[in-house]
Symmetry: C2
């Protein structure tokens, strides 16, 4: 491996000048810069990252910790995130160190990684409301960025979508089509995003003067089988008049709903409207559903570049308050939603108390 010294002695220059030349400092003569560049290229010089990091005090590595949960819900999204993240971090000259841990105390794995002393910061995924990890890392003054939001503290960097709006937009579209009995298959309520969608759903329904029996607003893992079994129960009529529309927290759940509808000989969208939020995972393309799925869409992949940039900016000393981004998912109307069927225009008869409003992250 060629070093700065090799280049400098080859050219009769000092290492300082060579370093400056290669790092684009303005004070080096254009002529020398070119000579240096040429020799560096010829020698195949690559700066030694370890040495760079010793002197700058940075490691250039950021950490991410995956929780293994028994339902494995995060998996489909997890690789997608990693893929985008490693690419985006690479652009900013950083690498991703991964750990998987299932300690019951969520901060312990972070503490352990921190002890190893090689990380510049963290990316936090799947935040829960009032996430203890956020509190912990803020306290320790470790840079971190959250994918999504949690109400834990005020001033942390995050990037995510407006999940209240995701659900509210879905409800809005469906009520505009005349639907009154709208069921909701939410994600895991332990997670902040599902709490926010719960709030958005309740708000949206309330705004339309509607309520939902508890049996028709449920939460669970983001899986096809969960969608299938819950939709089957809801559409069978056992739980009460069946919904004319079902809003799903993921396209995977929607796939299960579609299958349940097919099993019950219900046509989509004539008998049942189905919509979902779409993370745009390459494996489950909403547009390839039959019929193509109406969705609120926000590719997970698109979150990776801003997440990486926020984190690196933070490490470079930016104020976390300036690194709080929330975007709105795009509403894409396709063929899985349609006007309410004639016989379904009544709201649910009994109006039991809706679930109490849940805490959620601030919107916008």
């Amino acid at each position: 491996m060629a070093t700065l010294k090799d280049i400098s002695s080859e050219l009769g220059l000092s290492v300082a000048t060579v370093s400056r030349a290669l790092n684009g400092f303005p004070e080096v003569n254009i002529k020398t810069r070119e000579r240096v560049r040429a020799v560096a290229d010829r020698m195949g010089y690559k700066p030694n990252r370890i040495a760079q990091r010793l002197v700058t005090g940075r490691s250039g590595m950021v950490g991410m910790i995956a929780k293994i949960n028994s339902d494995m819900t995060t998996d489909q999204t997890f690789l997608e995130i990693i893929a985008g993240l490693t690419a985006a971090l690479g652009q900013r000259d950083a690498d991703l160190v991964l750990a998987v841990d299932q300690h019951e105390n969520p901060v312990v794995p972070y503490e352990r990684m921190l002890e190893r002393g090689i990380l510049d910061g963290f990316i936090l995924n799947a935040p829960v409301p009032d996430d203890p990890r956020i509190r912990f890392l803020t306290e320790r003054q470790v840079p971190f960025v959250v994918h999504g939001q949690s109400g834990a503290v005020e001033d942390y960097a995050y990037f995510g979508i407006d999940n209240v709006a995701v659900a509210a937009d879905g409800v809005g579209l469906l009520t505009d089509l005349g639907h009154r009995r709208i069921a909701f298959l939410n994600g895991d309520l332990r997670l902040a995003f599902a709490r926010d969608r719960e709030a958005g759903f309740s708000d949206g329904m309330a705004r339309a003067g509607l309520t939902v029996p508890l049996a028709f607003s449920v939460s669970g893992p983001s899986s096809e089988s969960y969608g299938y079994t819950r939709a089957l129960a809801m559409l069978s009529g056992r739980l009460g008049p069946r919904p004319t529309a079902i809003l799903c927290s993921s396209t995977l759940i929607a796939a299960g709903v579609m299958r349940a509808a097919a099993d019950l000989d219900l046509k989509v969208p004539e008998d049942l409207s189905v919509m979902a939020h779409d993370d745009a995972l390459p494996q489950y393309r909403a547009i390839e559903f039959t019929p193509p799925l109406t969705v609120t869409r926000s590719p997970l992949r698109d979150a990776c570049v801003p997440l990486a940039n926020h984190l690196i900016d933070l490490i470079d000393g930016a104020d976390p308050k300036t690194l709080q981004t929330q975007i709105r998912a795009e509403l894409i109307v396709r063929a899985s939603t349609g006007p309410v069927p004639q016989e379904g225009t009544d709201p649910w008869p009994q109006t039991p108390t809706a679930p109490p409003p849940l805490p959620c992250a601030p919107t916008r």
Copy 2:
């Protein structure tokens, strides 16, 4: 952060002695060693890994590259591997840098990671027969260890199970129970492990004087739905006399097979014996199947410590030839296998040419 210098000046010793004391060198006085230890503990000293690595020429980071394939088959196993690996590497003071890449040329992502110049070695997963990555890394003299085997070159480090034996043991058990029509739901034949199992299956069947129609020895993703659909087809009788036993490459596939059997009112093991290879993923516990599944078992998790150790040893200069380990999966007979049913004692009538023997890694 406390440094060696802090400790040495506190004690009036040289940094050299302090370094030696903490690293357990024999020539340091037991008395001083204790004083140093005490002060280091009190100051909360942690060696600066970056500095250590600059002088030792090691980064302490090893890389792993995940391929995103459209069927996502590796996912369930992937997190499990990462989990075990990060823990095992941590024991040896190393960290795991992860990248995800879907370049069509499998060596490109390795080349890219190598260019970044911070890795001491790689862990290769999901090898294919004659894996080009193995050739590439061998050529570049980059330390690496393979999880599994591939026939690419002779002298590389690996740890894996004997997949020929996995299938052969399964067939052996089933033929001992009198089964003659044994179907095989193999994994993806692009992967080396599936090739080996294919060979083991063919060998085992041949040894019992049996052949299998092509339609009853198939390969595909390691998913429940694949198991379900293929088993449904095989058990319907459409493809010929239905098998009395099905050997599956994973418990997930077996889950699908069980569901198909239930849908067709076939009792396991009375009407159909089912067995599988079990990676012991925490999510799909073979013992919790109804009935509990007969398996060849080899916890993926167990492979992680030897994989990590092999790699670190290799980086420390060990000869790859001494780091080639193949273990045999444990055969666990539970309740999903039983004697062949009365009416199923005939082998498949026509004996079409079995698939040609495929290349496989050397056994043992």
